[in-house]
């Protein structure tokens, strides 16, 4: 009974606000409060989306964008986690590389995109590289913080019970920093959407960003909104999937991670 209402609360309430906004938007549009040239009502946007789905235009753009996002995400996240763990665990490495990271991290990743095109050429590689770099620093910084936040006593237990360096890494450092690694991954996925759309604005023929940009140039305003809706949907999907994964993989998070604070 209690569980039932809990589930209702956790799924219905968030959906309620989303549909509420859409319904409100629709009503305002139909009552003539919104200029349909700039703000078409959701039902027309959705209709436009469905027709793009039927003629394959949507799948074409979506698949290209998703490929760039995931390729860049994997290429940036995996080395980011590894280097972040390493920098967190080794003070020497951290002292050596921290200034470099601190200097490079704040540069907007779109700002270096022209440079990437010079290096990798105008093609898929430079686009994926931009996404990868955006992900890399976010997961690096969070993984490093994850290691540095590990309570000292866990290291003492590991040492006292004879853990080797490898065991220390796989049984203590990696799992203990998972919660912050997840934070990095969440931020990285969000950033990869931002970067991929920006990159597609300027350098691609296909992809959600290119689709939005082309719709603007040809003033197909509904298509433009379809692109924005797709971005929102992707963002939402990433968040939900990650949250589920987090609950499964780090169920202890929020409980007793720092034993001295009990």
């Amino acid at each position: 009974m209690v569980q039932g209402t809990d589930r209702a609360r956790y799924t219905v309430l968030p959906l309620l606000s989303l549909t509420g906004i859409l319904v409100l938007w629709e009503i305002c549009g139909r009552m003539g409060f919104l200029n349909p040239l700039f703000f078409p009502v959701p039902s027309r946007i959705i209709a436009s989306g469905i027709s793009m789905l039927l003629d394959g235009e949507m799948q074409e753009n979506l698949s290209v964008t998703l490929f760039r996002v995931f390729a860049g995400f994997l290429l940036g996240t995996i080395p980011g986690i590894l280097l972040g763990l390493f920098m967190g665990a080794s003070e020497r490495t951290r002292l050596l590389l921290d200034p470099v990271v601190a200097a490079l991290y704040p540069i907007p990743k779109l700002a270096i995109f022209p440079l990437l095109m010079i290096i990798f050429g105008i093609g898929e590689t430079s686009r994926i590289a931009a996404v990868a770099i955006g992900c890399f620093f976010l997961v690096l910084i969070n993984s490093m913080a994850g290691v540095r936040n590990i309570s000292r006593v866990y290291f003492e237990v590991a040492e006292n019970y004879g853990a080797s360096q490898w065991q220390l890494l796989t049984r203590i450092i990696l799992p203990a920093s998972l919660p912050l690694i997840f934070t990095g991954i969440r931020l990285a996925l969000g950033t990869s959407l931002i970067v991929v759309v920006g990159v597609e604005f300027v350098s691609a023929n296909y992809g959600i960003g290119a689709m939005i940009w082309n719709s603007w140039e040809t003033f197909e305003i509904e298509k433009l909104y379809v692109g924005i809706f797709l971005c929102a949907l992707l963002g939402l999907l990433f968040t939900v999937v990650l949250k589920k994964a987090e609950e499964r993989i780090t169920p202890w998070f929020g409980h007793q991670v720092f034993p001295d604070q009990e």
């Binding site: 006593v153 003492e156 006292n160 019970y161 080797s164 799992p175 998972l178 202890w252 007793q256």
Partner: protein, 262 residues
Amino acid sequence: MKLECRNICKLYGEGTTASRALDTISFETGEGEFLSVIGPSGCGKSTLLKIIAGLLPPTEGTVTYTGDNPGTPLNSMVFQEHGVFPWMNVIDNVAFGLEMRHVPRKERYAQSMEFLKKVGLASYATRNPHELSVGMRQRIAIARAFVNNPAILLMDEPFGSLDAQTRLILQDELLNIWSEHRKTVIFVTHDIDEAILLGDRVMVMSGSPGKIQEIIDIDFQRPRDLRIESTREFIDIRIRIWNILRAEVGRSIGGDNHGAGN
């Protein structure tokens, strides 16, 4: 296995800001002895245990283990903050030391299960620590140390954070397991009754810097239980220890008041 500490000194920090945590600590333990260590908070008990465990280097002095212990670790520690890993389930926590020594999974689970039974947690083997109470987590830490089969057990205020009833139960369990395995135990506590009830001897320490004031023989028959606490001898020993500690605490409180200008 016997342990000998000779002239152990420990300074924290360097140069003029260094503070002396331990001052010429010398004692030895007998074979299979249960040595209680009691002293005011901050007198260096944890520091001493970590030096004995090899987790901290002493500034001066030596720790010597004598006797043979084929194939088993020298010491295992139950930490003051217990250090149960939230990312491992109960049985993996208990089996941690065995895992570090590459004992095959089946065998380490079998051995761990035996000790989980002894601390009454057999039915929680596959649960996660954050689902358990503080007292249960402390039992995990104790089982983890015992199953590792060390020559010497080091226990740092293992019952310090427990309520009175749980504490009594765990004291009883600890005595039972110890009487079965007869390991040398160094047991740190700030509870006078606990120190006497459990120990063959009680080492009374004073603070700033940490020193041994006296080592008192406790001659009660084993197996012991709560009933000895109402005997004349017990009360005499308690008063004797209290007098040493009170002089010590009085000195430090007096000093503080003076310093604060009261």
